[in-house]
């Protein structure tokens, strides 16, 4: 049953070796699949944020994603009316006008009161969850991972019947970026819960690079903190790095079809910098 999938994955790897970049593939675009995009550390209001936003609009021709996860640092600097407009509303205007909802998590540059900002869909909560098809998403506040939040997460995960459990928050538990590095104390407290309840994927930002790591304790980890900000050449790839990109901005888009997740990571100039098809881990 699994042979065709592995043969296809192997073919993609061979093509990547030959062409030096991820081999293109076609999203299944299956009816009722879960389609979403992710951005992180985006709220700069500079031309790069606009370039990424523009690529997101174009990419919807390839994968018409239905919602966007925000991995924190949604609004850098001030939080005035003008700031919210120029760092969020205007860059993503086309997506917002197409009815694409954004689901934010808070970064260390965000005001906690962003949780009341209607377009961020946080409904006044620092951490929250929502279900889309066969996936459940858990947006966490890694600025302040207090015992109440850890308890809440354990309860929500234990009662979730979703096939895919996806957590996202700002500070990465694993990363090969050197500026901040992984948050070891957060990892110590959070990862046992993620493992216990078989979380499939974790998305984080904070480090201004893109990075996909080898599964850690069975969990897929992505860092994407360069949808606006960038820290060039900050990655020091390790044996745990599958793919890194630290010379430009990007976003990523995903389609969940049954027990597979398909994704592409696209740079601000429209190049595919990473892509793959990942199987759902056995529980």
């Amino acid at each position: 049953m699994k042979k065709p999938f592995f043969a296809f994955s192997a073919a993609l790897c061979i093509l990547e070796l030959i062409f030096g970049q991820p081999a293109p593939f076609t999203f299944p675009l299956q009816q009722d699949s879960v389609r979403f995009a992710i951005i992180g550390d985006s709220g700069t209001a500079d031309s790069h944020q606009f370039a990424v936003a523009s690529q997101m609009v174009k990419a919807r021709a390839i994968l018409p994603f239905n919602f966007v996860l925000m991995l924190g640092d949604n609004i850098y600097g001030g939080h005035s009316t003008e700031d919210l407009k120029k760092k969020f509303d205007i860059p993503y205007q086309a997506l917002l006008e197409s009815g694409i909802p954004f689901y934010a998590s808070l970064g260390n540059h965000d005001s906690e009161n962003e949780r009341f900002y209607a377009p961020f869909n946080m409904n006044g909560k620092r951490y929250y969850n929502y279900r889309k098809g066969n996936a459940e998403f858990f947006a966490l506040d890694s600025n302040y991972m207090d015992p109440d939040q850890l308890d809440w997460l354990g309860r929500q995960l234990s009662s979730s019947s979703a096939a895919w459990k996806i957590c996202y928050f700002h500070h990465p538990l694993y990363t090969d970026a050197r500026f901040h590095g992984p948050d070891l104390d957060l990892r110590q407290r959070l990862e046992p819960i993620l493992r216990k309840y078989s979380v499939n994927i974790v998305f984080s930002g904070h480090e201004h690079v893109y990075e996909r790591l080898r599964p850690q304790n069975g969990i897929y980890f992505f860092v994407l903190g360069n949808s606006g900000e960038l820290r060039p050449h900050d990655l020091r790839p390790s044996p745990e790095t599958i793919k890194g990109y630290d010379t430009g901005r990007c976003f990523a888009m995903f389609e969940i079809v049954g027990d597979r997740i398909y994704f592409e990571t696209i740079s601000e100039d429209g190049r595919v910098v990473d892509s793959d098809i990942l199987p759902r881990q056995p529980t």
């Binding site: 939080h79 005035s80 009316t81 260390n108 906690e112 009161n113 850890l150 948050d183 110590q188």
Partner: protein, 186 residues
């Protein structure tokens, strides 16, 4: 009879002694802290009386207006507030001790790494003053939060340098602080 007399003589000194404290003094300090926090929340509730609870969603401008209104009302309700009102010297000592306990266990290196990487920037430590939201918000090591007394949602802890700040989350103001909460480097 002799046995009874002997027992009575053995127990007699206990009668002159002070009754043994039934409450752990450290727990009493935590309880005192929680009481002061509850008083703050009560005062805050009274100060915000008549103000509708924050809407779950707001538009441009409403966010900041709401925050400023709440902050002003709290400031007006405690104009004489000063450092130590909630974190008295004794309570500050206890909070330092609890942080020290977390740091003295095997978690020390991990917690210190998280604190170092928290992007904390200097904040003007003024009671009722703003905790500026245009600066990076220092993240709190979860292990410290496990060790410190829990707070109601109206308040949170923040570490800036070696200072532990008690912050009003909605108003974004400094309610009290504990200087030298983190041990210094020698």
């Amino acid at each position: 009879m002799k046995l009874f007399t002997a027992l009575a003589l053995m127990c007699a000194p206990q009668l002159w002694l002070e009754p043994q404290a039934r409450v752990n003094p450290d727990s009493a300090l935590v309880e005192a802290f929680e009481g002061k926090v509850a008083d703050y929340v009560k005062m805050r509730k009274a100060a915000l009386d008549g103000l509708p609870p924050p809407a779950r969603t707001m538009k441009h401008g409403e966010l900041l207006r709401e925050q400023h209104e709440i902050a002003d009302r709290i400031r007006n309700a405690r104009p004489e507030a000063k450092q130590g009102d909630i974190c008295s010297p004794e309570i500050s000592g206890e909070l330092r001790r609890l942080i020290g306990l977390a740091l003295s266990a095997g978690d020390k290196a991990r917690i210190q790494a998280t604190i170092r990487r928290a992007d904390a920037v200097p904040v003007q430590l003024k009671i009722n003053g703003p905790f500026p939201d245009r600066l990076p918000q220092p993240s709190m090591p979860p292990t410290l939060l496990l060790n410190l007394p829990s707070l109601p949602p109206e308040l949170d802890y923040r570490l800036v340098g070696r200072t532990l700040i008690l912050r009003d989350t909605l108003a974004g103001i400094i309610v009290d602080f504990v200087p030298d909460a983190l041990p210094g480097t020698k």
